[in-house]
Symmetry: C2
């Protein structure tokens, strides 16, 4: 069974490789064959269980409007079967979103996620993000480009 430290390191490496660097196929090393988005209000996959191909599709589509996105870690707490992560995120709005064509502006977000771990792979997450904050920034950015 993985130690606490190992799960924390696993999460850091996963976020860096898959979500920050955008190496989508690196998900093979981190994501279980079935992955459940237990709670993630505003995420198009909220409540769904994905296979690995579905997870990679989620990464690709989520990153497309924000290709230079970076998660920075605030707090990390781990047990042998889960890791809690609070985070800040920054990205340039380079691709279109529903209602918000690309603005080229910097967007910031914060959130918190618990990742569930089994046998060294992530099996799902429970997440809340400050999507009202993002919405307000996108509105302001859109006004600035009109």
């Amino acid at each position: 069974m993985a130690t606490d430290g190992t799960n924390k390191d696993l999460l850091i490496q996963f976020i860096e490789d898959v979500w920050n660097a955008g190496i989508v196929d690196a998900a093979d090393k981190y994501i279980a064959p079935t992955y459940t988005i237990h709670h993630d209000p505003g995420d198009p996959w909220d409540g769904m269980t994905l296979d690995l191909a579905g997870y990679k599709e989620r990464v690709t589509r989520s990153r497309a409007p924000f290709p230079d996105q970076r998660f920075a870690f605030q707090d990390l707490l781990a047990t042998d079967d889960r890791v809690a992560m609070t985070w800040r995120w920054v990205a340039t709005h380079k691709g279109d979103l529903p209602g918000f064509p690309a603005t080229g502006k910097e967007i910031r977000m914060s959130g918190a996620t618990v990742y569930y771990v089994r046998d060294g792979l992530f099996t799902g997450h429970w997440q809340v993000t400050d999507r009202l904050g993002v919405y307000v920034q996108l509105q302001q950015a859109s006004e600035g480009t009109r």
Copy 2:
């Protein structure tokens, strides 16, 4: 130094007493003489450091529109100096909010909080809540009462 289990139990008791039951003076047992709201977008005290009286004022004013509010715990992870908590919240909208007079409707929210602990007292928190979800519910509840 407190064990992990102790900090988890401390947080559960604090939330039950102060935020769920609304026993504001119970904050004396849980809150440090200075308490910092490190990050809490949408909270009127975001970024502020409060004394105990200020903290109690925050509890009183935050609970006023939602006097029957209940936090339910999703995940709890603890170390010797912090506790991460993911949660769901439900309350009846019984008091006025800016732009939203009391509707009597049930409002649901979710969020995640890291509480920082020193010598058995909470010294601050870092929190994200799904405030867009709350905003949408308040709008719908207000339309229903018009």
